[in-house]
Symmetry: C2
Subunit: 139 residues, 2 copies
Amino acid sequence: MEVLIDNILKKNQLSVTGSRKKILELFLQSNGALAHSDIEKKTGEKFDRVTVYRTLQSFLDKGIIHTIPTSDNSIRYALCKDDCSKGHHHDNHVHFVCSKCTNTICLDHVTIPSVKLPTGFKASEFQMIVNGICKSCQN
Amino acid sequence: MEVLIDNILKKNQLSVTGSRKKILELFLQSNGALAHSDIEKKTGEKFDRVTVYRTLQSFLDKGIIHTIPTSDNSIRYALCKDDCSKGHHHDNHVHFVCSKCTNTICLDHVTIPSVKLPTGFKASEFQMIVNGICKSCQN
DNA sequence: GTAACTGCAAAATATTTGCATCCTT
DNA sequence: AAGGATGCAAATATTTTGCAGTTAC
């Protein structure tokens, strides 16, 4: 794990520092998406708030993570899968937001179906969010 | 128009006031979605910022408008269509976000295709956002 | 007249920026 | 050693809350 994390950072020309390792580890552990506040909580106040902002921003810039649209004012970030790092972000799967546990889960195997847009519109990216009750909260 | 606006408000047991009429009118005019900041701009600083927050909240509560997920920290609101007011929000169309003019447009005639979720997941709502260049910015 | 709505002030939160210091390479 | 990353302080921006005055019904 340790090695994997270092490799991801190096591959993206980011220096390997404590906060980056820790935050990246968080993403690798949770297979869902994280909001800024989640990260602050789960790292246990170890880092400055500002460092979290900047770390997320640099991960975004490098394409290590991407944002997921939400309906509340809290951007959520998720790891990009392999094909993302090549520049284009084809994060081509559906995201599921559980209304019970509020987790955002990547449904990696559910691909976003394509839609036909009216003439004049040129699409560059498709996002799909499904709200409901997730597997773990089902009872 | 004036009458229509009053009717919407009355139908939802909201008293008819200047700010509500003005803001509702804005929504009726723009067939896209509006962010809080859009509303402040377009009403020309006439209302207190707080009034805008509260007005939007009461419209949300009554189901007159709904939120649209975004990837930047700016909730966008759009008018609900007729079948929304019955309680369930089946805002069943695709939203288009133009990366040039940043407008969010309701593609009323593009329905969200259904997807098959993994077992254990129960969906209650589907949202789809398409990013790209809109009709007006195409040149 | 009463309940609901608004505007102002202020509190609480969230985000950004500058700069000195420290760490990675 | 040099450039980049971090933490602190502080500037901005955003959202929420309380309260007194005003307006709609």
